[in-house]
């Protein structure tokens, strides 16, 4: 179905090839998972499949890419629309029309299909994706998972042989992500569509994948069945790492496989002491009572109580739209808050950050918003650092010193946009930490981070907390929460539905349990704990 023969690609003005001599054959009806670090060339590889690279991106492509027997070099993407459907990372940015039904029909209108065919396919696709009840809804009013499914539907109506998706679930909560992945599985199983998708959070996709492609970052790729590739790969989902620790062969790819292999390990763990629960230390630094946030007629946060102590990391979880962001903004003081109190300890005195000016508030509570790059507006890293010092009234060079600690080796005259996701997050963190707030709130910080960057980030968060800060991380990433958080708070419809030690909150929940807990049951959450208990080196 798809053949890449000795494909190399250079972006304009670079000498280093992004892809170098890539050879790849994908058969009909396969589900292919493409992984790799940020900036390794995953998106470039996906772009070659429908000719967006090089027709849209510019640059120089060598070698031959054929899809369904057609060479992408000779045809622009629009002439391949009926063969390859492409779904981008941000579905909203790719929508052309404004209601669900029209969006599904848009591609078919371009193909010039007959009206009765269009009508039938729209209905079929609505049913296939389970979105029939959304047909007349404006696209902007849909939730993230619904938008992503509409985006998939809008290419499916063209009946493409291949569907290419670039991180379709990175912005979704675990349940919505499962929905989208189930949809993709259905395409492969029922329609025989070839699906190629790139994904950072591979643990969710690996069980379905027939083939895995690791984009190494030096221009080359490793291709093979997931079990083989994962045996060699440095980056692996927790399940595979657990398999390595326990010495299972073949490596388990799904929780079900692992559970069946886990009997002996479970017996062994039963005799070892359970992982110790670190007791909460540190003085209380922020106390919120009955916080209420309303946006017009909708209530985003309904009377939430939250206490933060120095030295702890608190994870804030819940589905998209459950009020996590609104709560963080209300705690910081610059967001709306219609009711309740927030008191931050300031050398023995209680102050409400909302009553302080923005300059004083950020000395008490720092917030990194969901789109962290909104905070950056200057041309170079050095300029941002200098502005950070000035805004915080800190001595010159303190922001840069923080940045060097969090992410050593960031070149000062680079444009912030050219940094990797991890480096950019470190820069924003440094700017906010410059004001030395005892409380730091992070809204979905790990979006777009690869496994390595996430590991670095987890370490950073732990260090910052150990230095006496209280840190709140709003996230969908259960594996990250399992590794970093001391406490977890789950919100639903603006109310706290469960709160307590991470272990208690996560292990028992079907939606939030990390893979290790799903295999071994309570109280085990992470591979590191298991490794420590059995005395193996992970």
């Amino acid at each position: 179905m798809i053949r890449l023969v000795d494909v190399s690609f250079w972006y304009a003005d670079t000498d280093v090839p992004t892809l170098d001599g890539v050879g790849l054959t994908i058969d009909e009806g396969e589900l292919v998972l493409v992984v790799g670090r940020t900036g390794s060339g995953k998106s470039t590889l996906l772009g070659t499949l429908n000719g967006l690279v090089p027709h849209f991106s510019g640059g120089h492509l060598q070698g031959r890419v054929t899809v369904d027997g057609v060479s992408t070099a000779e045809r622009p993407p629009r002439e391949l629309a009926h063969v390859v459907g492409v779904v981008g990372q941000d579905p909203l940015a790719g929508f052309v029309t404004d209601t669900v039904e029209e969006e599904l029909a848009y591609g078919m209108e371009q193909l010039g299909l007959r009206p009765d065919v269009m009508r039938r396919r729209v209905e079929e696709t609505l049913d296939l994706l389970g979105i029939a009840d959304l047909r007349g809804r404006p696209l902007r009013t849909l939730s993230g998972g619904q938008q992503q499914r509409v985006a998939i539907g809008s290419v499916l109506t063209m009946h493409p042989r291949v569907v290419v998706l670039d991180e379709p679930t990175s912005a979704l909560d675990p349940t919505a992500a499962e929905d989208v992945l189930a949809t993709l599985k259905r395409l492969v199983d029922d329609l025989g569509t070839t699906v190629v998708l790139a994904e950072h959070r591979m643990e969710r996709v690996v069980p379905f994948a027939d083939t895995m492609v690791v984009v190494r970052g030096d221009g080359g790729v490793d291709v093979g069945p997931p079990t083989d590739v994962l045996r060699r790969s440095e980056i692996a989902p927790p399940l595979v790492e657990l398999g390595r620790v326990a010495g299972w062969d073949p490596l388990p790819l799904s929780v079900r496989d692992a559970r069946r292999a886990a009997g002996p390990l479970r017996d062994r763990l039963a005799t070892t002491p359970a992982p110790s629960v670190p007791e909460l230390r540190g003085a209380e630094v922020l106390s919120a009572r009955g916080v209420v946030v309303r946006h017009g007629a909708t209530v985003a946060v309904r009377g939430v109580d939250l206490d933060l102590r120095r030295g702890e990391v608190v994870a804030l979880m819940g589905r998209n739209g459950s009020g996590k962001s609104s709560l963080l903004w209300a705690l910081q003081g610059s967001g709306a808050r219609q009711g309740g109190t927030v008191a931050v300890d300031d050398a023995g005195q209680q102050v409400d950050p909302k009553r302080l000016g923005p300059r004083a508030a950020r000395r008490h509570v720092g917030l990194v918003p969901q789109t962290a790059s909104d905070l950056l507006y200057l041309e170079t890293v050095d300029a941002e650092c200098a502005a950070g010092d000035e805004e915080s009234g800190a001595p010159a060079g303190s922001c840069r010193a923080l940045l060097d600690r969090l992410a050593p080796g960031v070149v000062g005259d680079r444009h912030p946009r050219d940094l990797s996701e991890g480096q950019r997050l470190a820069l924003v963190l440094s700017v906010q930490l410059c004001a030395a707030p005892p409380v730091l709130l992070l809204d979905e910080p790990t979006r777009g981070l690869d496994y390595d960057a996430k590991r670095v980030f987890a370490r950073t968060v732990r260090t910052l907390a150990d230095e006496g800060r209280a840190i709140v991380v709003a996230t969908h990433d259960v594996e990250l929460v399992a590794v970093t958080a001391d406490r977890a708070v789950v919100l639903a419809e603006g109310e706290v539905v469960s709160a307590g030690a991470t272990r208690d909150v996560l292990a028992g929940s079907p939606a939030f349990a990390p893979q290790v807990a799903k295999v071994l049951g309570e109280p085990w959450l992470t591979v590191d704990e298991v490794a420590a208990a059995v005395g193996a080196v992970p």
Binding site: G94, T97, Q110, P115, R140, G388, Q432
Partner: protein, 376 residues
């Protein structure tokens, strides 16, 4: 016509937006041909009645009352200006007022002066006529879905329609980005004066908009936008000339038709020729378009009846104004009670037909509208 067709025609659906526009333009044209307050008020009533009975619950439908306010403002302004500036006319004095002397260089303009019944009535009739026309256009806006109107444009204008829809969706996005970045800026508490403040907002917002438009372009390209090959240069020149000439003809024709004093040869003939030329242009341009339309609005019997009622009203008032001008232009000197003649009355009442023949509109299910509220 069988019973089944009748029943089907009566099912709730959106009427073709073009039909609503033609009906409303017919009423507006009728209003332009008369200053008789009874006829104008009747046209207003007809338009309001049809809007109330046949509008959907979409946001544009709710904007109708703004047009009514605008109409009221027009009438009041017209009368106020007559009183303020037109005190020169002789006639029945209602309120005796002195004239405010103005310097020589504004000769020809006079402030205040005696308020005469003639002046006030002339202002009222004139204002009412303009207000009725505005309200008729408002009715079209309230009844026809603007997006469907774009979608039912001829194939040749497809690209324009797409561009307009994309542009319309950009504005809420830009507003969202500005809001988001402004909030983020407070988190950094960056100072440095107004210039800096603008920059800290404009730079991220523009970057965001730029990224989005690139993503949209990539998405449209990979979904087949612009697939139907480009036409040869000569073809494009021919269609372009045809359309521009045709539309010019239509403009001249419409102007001449509405302005009773223009030479008649400019009215009917030029309008007809212009329409034909433009139509040929659209057909030629549309023929090479290989795209199709999903669920296009079709012209069925109710559409035709709605258009007929609007056009009928216009025609009757045209005829009356040609044969019995005093029925539609009531005399001000001498002051008389405006006459009520049967023919124009019946003509205007034709316009109320859509409230019976047009199908009732689709209403959004409750859940959908609630979600829209939440986002707003």
């Amino acid at each position: 016509m069988t019973g089944a067709t009748v029943r089907r025609a009566g099912l709730p659906r959106d009427l073709h937006p073009g039909a609503w526009w033609l009906w409303a333009l017919g009423l507006a044209t009728a209003a332009s041909r008369t200053t008789n307050p009874w006829l104008l008020l009747l046209i207003l009533t007809v338009a309001c009645h049809v809007v109330v009975v046949r509008r959907s619950d979409a946001p544009w439908a709710m904007a109708f009352r703004l047009y009514l306010y605008l109409g009221l403002a027009i009438v009041l302004l017209r009368v106020a200006f007559r009183v303020l500036l037109g005190g020169d006319t002789a006639g029945t004095v209602l309120v005796p007022l002195p004239t405010v002397p103005l310097p020589d260089w504004v000769a020809g303009i006079q402030l205040l002066g005696d308020v005469t019944a003639e002046a006030v009535l002339a202002g009222l009739y004139d204002g009412l006529r303009l207000a009725t026309m505005v309200v008729c256009l408002g009715a079209a806006n309230a009844l026809a879905n603007p997006k469907r109107l774009l979608a039912s444009m001829p194939g040749a204008l497809y690209e324009v329609g797409t561009a307009v829809v994309v542009a319309l969706s950009v504005f809420p996005q830009l507003a969202e980005s500005v809001q988001r970045v402004r909030r983020a800026r407070r988190l950094r508490a960056s100072g440095g004066g107004r210039v800096n403040a603008v920059r800290t907002i404009v730079v991220p917002v523009l970057e965001d908009a730029f990224d989005r438009s690139l993503q949209l372009a990539a998405s449209m390209d990979s979904r087949g936008y612009g697939r139907a090959g480009a036409a040869p240069r000569r073809d494009r020149a021919v269609t372009g000339t045809l359309m521009v000439t045709g539309l010019l003809g239509v403009c001249v024709g419409v102007y001449a038709t509405l302005d009773g004093t223009a030479p008649r040869v400019l009215a009917g003939p030029v309008l007809a020729v212009g329409l034909v030329v433009a139509a040929v242009g659209f057909v030629v341009a549309g023929r090479r378009v290989e795209r199709t339309r999903y669920r296009p609005d079709r012209w069925r019997l109710p559409e035709l009846l709605v258009v007929a009622s609007g056009v009928g009203t216009a025609v009757v008032l045209f005829l009356t104004s040609s044969f019995d001008p005093q029925d539609v232009y009531p005399s001000l000197t001498p002051l008389t009670w405006p006459p009520v003649a049967t023919l124009p009355l019946v003509g205007v009442l034709l316009g109320v037909l859509p409230s019976f023949v047009a199908p009732p509109p689709l209403r959004t299910p409750a859940s959908g509208s609630r979600a829209t509220e939440a986002v707003r």
